[in-house]
């Protein structure tokens, strides 16, 4: 009995999230509850889950859940728990920072929060998956909820179009994952990552044809989900069509979960294959960096620009991904650090956008930001901080993220790739600083707006402080993690994968 309880304790956060999702679904039938209460309930469940994960992290030994009955399907280790922490925190912040936005739109209701929690459940399953079918199920649970969320504003044509686009393309690429799994199963006779790793290590390249094809197909699904070029066709339209909270969620939190499974595949199984996979990945990284930059430069709406830039940020992480197992010590922690860095900056930037659009403006173009520094001086400062961080300006966390990524590339001697990364970072200066220029360089034509002290604005401030602290944090102040600490935590978590 105690063994079962112990096992259940290990997956308790996931169960709580699931219970939360069902509770919200049931509650949403009652008109009695207001949106604010749904939000509160969702955050409450997530906070409990987060608290449990935090107590678990670093404390419980690595293990498989119900290994006797399920086999090595569901793993609990520090690596997965760290990604749990990241994604649960992500959802909490997404919910809280958008409180104003929810209020301003009529179409949000209880199911919205239920769907978000279902998606989080899928993401947690994904980061714990130690077997291909489980990973696929996790991925699809997460994705299906997001398909629905993208089209949540069902009277809006753009939103519905975005949903259709994402649904059709996403399902097709999901099929690639299944095909890849089938091929790998055909060769190995098992779908657990342990068995696949053993098989790959025991065989030569010429016997691994099926595995290589399968691995490539699986990578295609992953690349599609992170929006790498040439699988990026959906990104801009879908980001644009979605409500702000969902855009924010897809750009930052969902990407974290995708990288959780990508890193696990890469670290456990695909390292022996890197000679074959790396050239492909490098090629895609180059395309992603250049294509993303091109898309980002040409946009006039801020939301679309951020969508384009999210492609570029995926490209940076691909640089580090190709550096895994080729001499770089920092590659995996670098990706995790970058995910956090990008998460903070993107949530901050989208948070400000949603905060502004809560008070009316629908389209946010560069032009709309003219004179913003005079209308909203404080928000302008924070927006600048987020833009600087996204651009990788030193003294922000974005710079350290890029520093680690490029160091990983240099350690693996991918000098040309790093050079290209630096060039795209230079290009990105243009489209991020354009916003700063718009905010500060043009006179104000609209009337001054009063400062509103709300919860969302407090969180925006918190994000900005975290970004600065992450960029310059010293180890001189005890009890507060320094810029070093995140990397150390990530390294510890990666060791648990073994």
């Amino acid at each position: 009995m105690s063994i079962i309880l112990n096992q259940l304790y290990m997956i308790l956060p996931m169960i709580i999230v699931l219970i939360g999702a069902f509770t919200l679904m049931i509650l949403s039938q009652y008109k009695f509850f207001k949106l604010k209460q749904f939000n509160l309930v969702a955050v409450l469940f997530l906070t409990i889950a987060l608290a449990i994960v935090l107590t678990q992290f670093g404390q419980i030994p690595k293990g498989y859940i119900f290994e006797n009955t399920l086999g090595q399907v569901f793993i609990v280790d520090d690596f997965a728990l760290l990604f749990d922490i990241m994604s649960i925190t992500g959802v909490i912040l997404t919910l809280l920072i958008n409180t104003d936005y929810f209020k301003s739109r009529q179409y949000f209701n209880g199911e919205y929060f239920a769907l978000l929690l279902f998606s989080l459940f899928g993401m947690i399953l994904l980061s714990h998956a130690h077997e291909l079918m489980t990973a696929f199920i996790g991925l699809e649970i997460a994705s299906l909820s997001i398909y629905a969320l993208v089209g949540y504003h069902k009277n809006n044509k753009v939103s519905s179009e975005a949903m259709m686009k994402y649904l059709v393309l996403g399902s097709i690429t999901g099929a690639f994952f299944i095909l890849g799994t089938a091929l790998i199963y055909g060769a190995v006779g098992s779908t657990t990552l342990t068995n696949i790793a053993i098989y790959i290590n025991e065989h030569d390249y010429d016997q691994l044809t099926l595995i290589i094809i399968g691995a490539t197909l699986i990578m295609i699904t992953i690349l599609f989900k992170i929006g790498a070029v040439p699988f990026h066709g959906w990104v801009i339209d879908v980001y644009e069509g979605s409500p702000f909270p969902i855009t924010m969620f897809m750009a930052s939190t969902f990407k974290i979960a995708i990288f959780a499974i990508a890193l696990r595949f890469y670290l456990l199984d695909f390292v022996p294959l890197h000679e074959i996979l790396n050239p492909m990945l490098q090629f895609i990284a180059i395309l992603t960096l250049l294509g993303g930059s091109w898309l980002a430069i040409t946009q006039s709406s801020i939301k679309r620009m951020l969508a384009g830039s999210s492609i570029v940020h995926s490209g940076y992480m691909l640089i580090a991904l190709t550096s895994i197992g080729t001499g770089s010590q920092i590659a995996v922690p670098a990706i995790m650090f970058y995910l956090i860095a990008y998460f903070l900056s993107a949530v901050g930037a989208f948070g400000i956008l949603s905060y502004i659009s809560a008070s009316g403006i629908k389209q946010l173009t560069y032009e709309d930001f003219k004179g913003f520094s005079e209308r909203r001086p404080y928000l302008a400062v924070f927006m600048s901080i987020f833009m600087l961080s996204l651009a990788g300006f030193p003294s922000t966390i974005g710079f350290l993220g890029k520093f680690y990524i490029f160091t990983a590339g240099v350690e693996s001697e991918h000098f040309l790739l790093v050079g290209l990364g630096i060039i795209t970072a230079f290009i990105s200066i243009y489209y991020y600083f354009k916003l700063i220029a718009m905010m500060y360089f043009y006179p104000n034509n609209e009337k001054q707006q009063p400062i509103r002290y709300t919860f969302s604005s407090a969180l925006i401030v918190l994000m900005a402080i975290l970004i600065i602290w992450g960029g310059i944090g010293t180890s001189l102040i005890p009890f507060i993690p320094s810029a070093d600490a995140l990397i150390d935590i990530a390294k510890g978590a990666i060791n648990s994968i073994g």
Binding site: F393, T407, V410, E411, I422, Y430, Y440, D488
Partner: protein, 491 residues
């Protein structure tokens, strides 16, 4: 005592932060800014008091920052950085005096942040830390040009931003490569320049690494070919920003070559000295000729400044004791005189709303004191005997003749060309008939005299009695030159 350098860097930053949190009114902001700049000036004077000219790097402070990669908070001061530090801390109070009636608070914040960034870049001895401050100081300049500048300011601000960033990015790549090579060779990561200086590259790689740095510095100076941002940016900057640009930030390019170039890849620099000398020589003459043709005072002195910075670069690359003393001395005197002249142009603009030479004239008859100061500063940029610029230029030209007689002749031509554009400009601006713009031209007020007098006196003293200053610069130059000559050995 240990924290003095940290204090010097961060006092302006903390002032700005505190003022923005407390939401001070602009008069209070002015008071605290001036107070902080005076405190800093006092601290720097104290630092000079304690500094030992023979002692190499002093007041060194190393704290771990990112331990995994050996990045540290590494500060230190030697004669070169002390000279620049003194210039910054001395100019700032004068600039605040110039900005006395400025009620836009952002202006003051940006100046405070600018001072922090510039000081940090001067004191940092860790490459990543240096990169941080190097970028940090660009941001206030970008905002100041774009927000408070004039004539096509948005475009010009973006231009200076992008060009400077291009240099910084290439420098970042070189920095990463240096760190990695050190890790490969010695087995641990570090970005401190004293440790990185031991790495030896093969010549073909060394030139690539060095050019990453040199691109950043060449754009900042700017050497000819990398200068397209210069005239527009100088033209549309507000006066305090243009003073900082020409008096301090351009010098930081020189400082970079001196500090990082001559420690990290001195062999490469010596090997390619001739190319850079030719580049600087072309710049020297080309900028001077362009300066003659300019109609706007700002743009004219922008090119004049470019020409003189090329001269400092030349002095740097002749790499002998005369030229180095001259260059270091010229850094001081050029900062003083260009600060003076750009402040005067700012005052002129306040009075006439134009800086177009053709629409000026007849100032001398209405405002003799203004004309006197203006003439003095203009002549001091050209290096007229009796001003500090003359001593410095002379030393560099002696160094040039010592290097090569032909190059010496070309270098000496700068004095002639400078006279040409300065005197012609003076004639058209100060004398002649009174134009519409200069009608009722007010003479200098007391506050303005207080602002300009220190610069004028210092230029006179440096010109008349160079023996007061040069000996305290020399020990550092001798030591540095010797160590370079040892390192490059047979070359």
């Amino acid at each position: 005592m240990e924290q003095i350098l940290t204090a010097i860097i961060f006092i302006p930053f903390i002032t700005a932060l505190g003022a923005s949190i407390l939401r001070l009114s602009h008069t209070n902001l002015r008071s605290v800014s001036i107070a902080s700049s005076l405190i800093l000036f006092g601290l720097v004077l104290f630092l000079i008091q304690e500094y030992d000219p023979q002692g190499g790097m002093q007041f060194v402070r190393i704290l771990p920052w990112i331990q995994n990669y050996g990045i540290s908070y590494h500060l230190g001061v030697d004669t070169l950085s002390l000279v620049l530090l003194l210039l910054v801390s001395m100019l700032m109070p004068l600039l605040y005096l110039y900005m006395w009636h400025e009620h836009r608070k952002g202006y003051w914040y940006n100046m405070l942040l600018l001072q922090s960034g510039v000081t940090g870049a001067i004191l940092a001895l860790d490459l990543i830390l240096f990169y941080l401050f190097w970028e940090m100081m660009l941001l206030p300049i970008f905002i100041m040009i774009g927000r408070y500048g004039n004539s096509n300011r948005q475009y010009n601000a973006t231009k200076i931003l992008l060009m400077t960033m291009l240099g910084s990015m290439s420098m970042l790549f070189s920095i990463l490569y240096l760190g990695y090579t050190h890790f490969e060779v010695n087995g641990f990561w570090t970005y401190s320049i004293d440790k990185l200086s031991v790495i030896n590259f093969s010549p073909s790689i060394a030139i690539l690494v060095a050019s990453g740095f040199l691109l950043a510095f060449a754009i900042k100076i700017p050497l000819v070919g990398f200068h397209t941002w210069m005239a527009p940016a100088y033209g549309s900057s507000p006066t305090p920003a243009v003073v900082i640009l020409s008096a301090i930030m351009a010098k930081l390019g020189i400082y970079g070559i001196w500090r990082f170039g001559y420690t990290l890849f001195e062999e490469t620099l010596v090997r390619y000295t001739d190319f850079i000398i030719i580049l600087a020589l072309v710049g020297l003459i080309y900028y001077a000729i362009i300066a003659i043709t300019q109609a706007s005072l700002r743009r004219m002195f922008a090119y004049a400044s470019g020409s003189h910075l090329s001269l400092i670069t030349l002095g740097l690359f002749f790499a002998n004791i005369y030229s180095w003393s001259g260059s270091l001395y010229f850094i001081i005197t050029h900062a003083l005189s260009s600060a003076g002249i750009f402040l005067m142009i700012g005052l002129l603009y306040k009075r006439t709303q134009t800086i177009n030479i053709n629409s000026l004239g007849g100032i001398a008859s209405q405002a003799p004191l203004f004309a006197l100061f203006f003439t003095f500063f203009a002549l001091s940029t050209a290096g007229v005997p009796g001003t500090g610029g003359f001593v410095a230029e002379l030393l560099i030209i002696i160094g040039a003749f010592k290097y090569n007689i032909l190059i010496g002749i070309f270098t000496a031509s700068t004095m002639l060309l400078a006279m040409l554009y300065i005197f012609w400009m003076l004639q058209r601006t100060l004398f002649g008939s009174i134009s519409v713009a200069t009608q009722g031209f007010k003479d200098l007020s007391k506050k303005e005299i207080v602002m300009l007098l220190p610069l004028l006196l210092l230029l006179l003293i440096t010109g008349v009695a160079p023996s007061l200053f040069v000996p305290s610069l020399e020990p550092w130059i001798t030591i540095t030159l010797e160590s370079i000559n040892q390192n490059i050995g047979g070359l």
